[in-house]
Amino acid sequence: MRTFGYSDFWFLVEAAQWTVALSLMAFIGGGIVGLIVALSRTAENAVARTLSMWFIQVFRGTPLLLQLFLVFFGAPVLGLDINPWLAAAVALTLNSGAFLGEIWRGCIEAIPRGQWEAAEALGLSYWNKMRDVVLPQALKIAVPPTVGYLVQIVKGTSLAAIIGFTELTRAGQIINNATFQPMVVFSIVAAIYFVLCWPLSLLAAYMERRLAATASR
């Protein structure tokens, strides 16, 4: 048993870098999956719509922790080698993909029908219609809720601690086991998460207000 010192604090800060790395992985991966899901959800193809609807339903209707377990325990069953880092990245990517897909679907559907029809009247192909007409306008309203969702991703990465990946929460557990000063350790862990998340929350709220102001003008 030893007391909590500077080196412990730096251990937590270093572990927080893994939290950030995992969040970025989940955001980039989730962004790609989410875009595919959102486009499928708004597509004319009924199969794509149904499949993406079930994807969203399953990943939003089950706990992230169990999705994490299924990837972690399921990959060896399929004969794949997996470590906690990869399992967490895959599970968080799929989960964020479902949530971001649903958020972005709403943004795409918020674009007035007339814009779609105008693009079709101009004879634009599906890709040109999406890339040049619909998505740029959807992007504008998608940014505030997406930044808000980033907070959920950062908090979600804490669950990787449960399958043994040493990010911020797991580092807190390790330090706590060595020092047995849970009050100090978990307060600092919570404070680091707060420092990561609060600016994002404030930014999302600010952008939402600004968007509302431009919309009402």
């Binding site: 399929l78 004969g79 557990q173 919570a190």
Partner: protein, 236 residues
């Protein structure tokens, strides 16, 4: 019981025989876990709403220091992971003398967590009632109880119903995390079964399926309640 291993292709491709038998044999445990998850979520919702109503009142009508305190509470809860909050209630508070069981610690963590999210929802509900409505009720000489019940509570509940019910489902899914402190819930039943049978993948597939069913069931029930009690036309 060998389910998909009956398919030879699958068997060659994936060198693993699925055995759901030991999982389904433990159905009384699964049922118990499901019930505990529902119970924990429902209790947390009930107490969390009480916290939310008090905080929403404090935020709209309280003095400045109280408002500041409530804001700090909401921001701290919303910007830290539930798992860390749970550790705080389970490890940190007992270290300074508060003693409680994993179940109580889990429930209290959930109540505090939900309280912060629900405060904003409840406040939006209160603010959705125009003052003129209450004055109209007085002009019609309704009693205070009638005014509260028909003019404030019911329309406010209708306004926040969708947000509140989806918050309940999020809470139920988040409650799986309490299994890490061995509070008795569906996911901890899975963890116990795993250590007895070693069929972890099968167990987690079944448990995930149960959560999905719970989500679908509650969404359906909430829609039904809305149709039954709150689906009246309103002027907007």
């Amino acid at each position: 019981m060998l389910l998909p291993s009956a398919i030879p292709w699958f068997r060659n491709k994936v060198n693993y025989s699925f055995q759901f038998g030991p999982v389904f044999d433990a159905w009384p445990l699964l049922l118990h876990g499901t019930w505990m998850t529902i119970q924990l979520s429902a209790l947390a919702m009930l107490f969390g709403l009480m916290v939310a109503v008090v905080c929403a009142w404090g935020k709209t009508a309280g003095p400045a220091p109280l408002r500041w305190l409530i804001n700090a509470y909401i921001e701290i809860i919303r910007n830290t992971p539930f798992l860390v909050q749970l550790f705080f209630f389970f490890f940190a508070l007992p270290a300074i003398g508060v003693r409680w069981s994993p179940y109580t610690a889990a429930l209290i963590a959930m109540v505090f967590n939900l309280g912060a999210y629900a405060t904003e929802i409840v406040r939006a509900g209160i603010e959705s009632i125009p003052k003129g409505q209450i004055e109209a009720g007085m002009a019609l000489s309704l009693s205070r109880v009638e005014i509260f019940r028909y003019i404030i509570l019911k329309p406010a509940l209708k306004a926040i119903y969708p947000a509140l019910t989806s918050q309940f489902i999020l809470l139920m899914l988040a409650s799986s995390v309490v299994s890490v402190i061995s509070a008795d819930d569906l996911t901890s039943v899975a963890a116990n079964l795993q250590s007895e049978t070693f069929r972890s993948f099968e167990i987690y597939i079944v448990i995930t399926g149960i959560y999905l069913l719970l989500t679908l069931l509650f969404s359906y029930l909430f829609r039904l309640v809305f149709q039954w009690g709150l689906n009246y036309p309103d002027r907007r």
